[in-house]
């Protein structure tokens, strides 16, 4: 049971850590189709965080 709560917590904490860790993505290169890293990384990270959150919802959903 404890392992499940650790996983649930990580699924919320990992995307949050990246979002608040500005120096992780505050750079110009590599560019993607002319967009600086700063912009394209954060935009694609939206899709990744939806993945984290869906996994959270899925694990949480089984419990009820």
């Amino acid at each position: 049971m404890r392992a499940k709560y650790v996983i649930l917590a990580l699924l919320i904490l990992i995307p949050s850590f990246v979002n608040l860790g500005v120096p992780i993505y505050n750079r110009e290169y590599p560019e993607l189709i002319g967009l600086p890293f700063f912009y394209w990384f954060q935009t694609l990270w939206l899709v990744a965080s939806a993945g984290f959150y869906l996994a959270f919802t899925h694990i949480k959903g089984k419990e009820q």
Binding site: I12, P15, I33, G34, F38, L46, A50, Y53, K60, G61
Partner: protein, 499 residues
């Protein structure tokens, strides 16, 4: 001057919008004389509809106007809106299903209902309701500024443009008030879906067509300086605290909670919340328009005809008008126009619930169900027109800065609402004092940061660099709420021992 095709498409789609608003009354019929039927659509919305409805809270004029405008004027700092929306759904996933479950069990309609029941304090509940109503007003005003920006661009160069603009806004608001009065949240939900379809078509087409027509994103980035390409190091603390503070605040706004409580089940709520970051992709595209516009000389030339302070809010509609065919501009501009109208309806509805249930009913508990729903409907209409009057009398840039203040205020109800859901040790008196200190210090810092003049910044210079004021004020507030509760609980247990 715009072509006739733009106007025809714009007006016909607006008529469809109004029709949907009224049709909402017949959609999933319920007795609209019950508060939860009128303002929560009978708590029957599934994953998809909650997705659209809460998406409507996100995709407001804030995304069409304030963010692209900020990026256009100041650069990359304003891209904070993207990690902010990601983080806010993490906050929501942890807090909202619990609030939903308690509300279903105990019949809460507002956050203030929960606080009153949880802490047994009328004072705290009323303070939370007042904070919600006040913080929401400039948010509605911002929606109207967004609608105004569309009309300004459409009417540029025509005679009497100011008068035509004000009359158009008035007509739009009368129609909005009429259908929210009759259909409640059902009307808002249907129009939210319609609005989102238009907006998605717009962002997808713009993000493909504009970079191609200007020869790639790179060409737009060549026109701007380095502070548009990456974030200057000095602004990193500002960026991170703007992300944190805004993410914590969004789900405290009355309209967001209203959307949450209309979900059919906690599971469906979780699922739609988990998917909502995808919505942010559209927001990111809109934000990028603040830079793309630098690559479109016709649009820049058009914008230079306006005073510098108002150029920003016109960025998105001008970019669309100067890069897209007329009929498509009509679709996109209407999408932005109703993109302000739908959230305004939901916000005014949430304000009305707070006013009626948590203020008027507290003062006059004998209020009957019928009077409650009538006062709710009427006050939701009044709130819309207060916001409209506000926009007609003060400059647009002022509405945006007051919205910054709204964010600082609403964040201060966090200890009672979010921590109240999970932390048993919190006590009402420290929460009340914390709220007051949070609001007082927040207002002081905002005034000081702007040298006690017109508001343009929500950042306060500290030892750690400039930080978002909402976060600093919330830190004071939390310290008092938790510290005070710990002292009270300790003295309560030692008294018990002595007895």
């Amino acid at each position: 001057m715009i072509g006739l095709d733009v106007t025809i498409v714009f007006v016909s789609l607006f008529l469809v919008f109004i029709f949907l608003g009224f049709y909402g009354k017949y959609w999933r019929r319920g007795n609209l004389n019950h508060v939860h039927e009128w303002s929560l659509a009978g708590r029957k919305l599934g994953t998809t509809l909650v997705f659209f409805l809460i998406g409507a809270d996100l995709y407001t004029a804030y995304s069409f106007v304030a963010i692209p405008s900020g990026i256009f004027a100041k650069g990359s700092l304003y891209f904070f809106a993207i990690p902010y929306v990601m983080l806010t759904f993490a906050v929501a996933l942890v807090t909202m299903p619990r609030l939903w479950t308690l509300s279903r069990e105990r019949g809460y309609i507002t956050a203030s209902d929960f606080v009153k029941d949880r802490f047994g304090s009328k004072t705290l509940a009323i303070m939370i309701a007042v904070t919600g109503i006040v913080a929401e007003l400039p948010y509605i005003a911002l929606q109207i500024v967004g609608m105004q920006s569309v009309l300004t661009v459409m009417l540029a160069g025509s005679v009497n443009s100011q008068a035509v603009q004000e009359i158009s806004l008035l007509i739009a608001f009368v129609a909005l008030a009429a259908f929210t009065y009759t259909s409640g949240l059902r009307g808002a939900t249907l129009t939210a879906v319609f609005k989102d379809i238009l907006i998605w078509i717009t962002v997808i087409v713009v993000i493909i067509a504009v970079p191609i027509s200007i020869g790639g994103f790179g060409n737009a980035f060549k026109q701007v300086n380095q502070s548009y390409v990456t974030l200057p190091d000095s602004l990193v603390p500002a960026y991170a605290t703007l992300v944190l503070g805004s993410a914590l605040a969004l789900y405290l706004y009355p309209h967001a909670i209203n959307g949450v409580l209309s979900a059919e089940s906690a599971k469906k709520l979780r699922k739609s919340t988990a998917l909502l970051p995808l919505y942010g992709v559209g927001l990111a595209i809109l934000a990028l328009m603040g830079i793309l516009v630098y690559g479109v000389p016709e649009a820049m030339n058009f914008l230079s005809g306006f005073p510098e302070s108002t150029r920003g809010i016109l960025v998105v509609p001008s970019l669309i008008l100067f890069t897209m065919p007329g009929w498509f501009s009509g679709i996109a501009l209407l999408g932005i126009f109703v993109g302000g109208l739908v959230p305004a309806a939901i916000m005014a509805m949430a304000q009305a619930n707070l006013l009626t249930r948590n203020i008027i009913k507290e003062i006059k508990p004998s209020l009957s169900n019928n009077s409650e729903i009538r006062i709710t409907k009427i006050s939701s209409t009044i709130f819309k027109f207060i916001a409209l009057g506000f926009v007609f009398t003060v400059p647009a840039t002022y509405a945006i800065s007051l919205q910054l203040l709204g964010g600082v205020l609403i964040a201060q109800i966090l200890p009672a609402v979010f921590f109240g859901l999970y932390v048993k040790s919190l006590r009402k008196l420290p929460l009340i004092i914390g709220l007051l200190v949070g609001i007082g210090s927040g207002i002081y810092m905002i005034a000081a940061a702007n040298n006690f003049g017109p508001l343009s910044s929500s950042l306060f210079k500290t030892y750690f660099g400039p930080l978002y004021i909402a976060v600093i004020a919330l830190a004071f507030n939390l310290a008092i709420a938790f510290g005070g509760s710990a002292i009270l609980n300790k003295s309560a247990t030692s008294q018990k021992k002595n007895q």
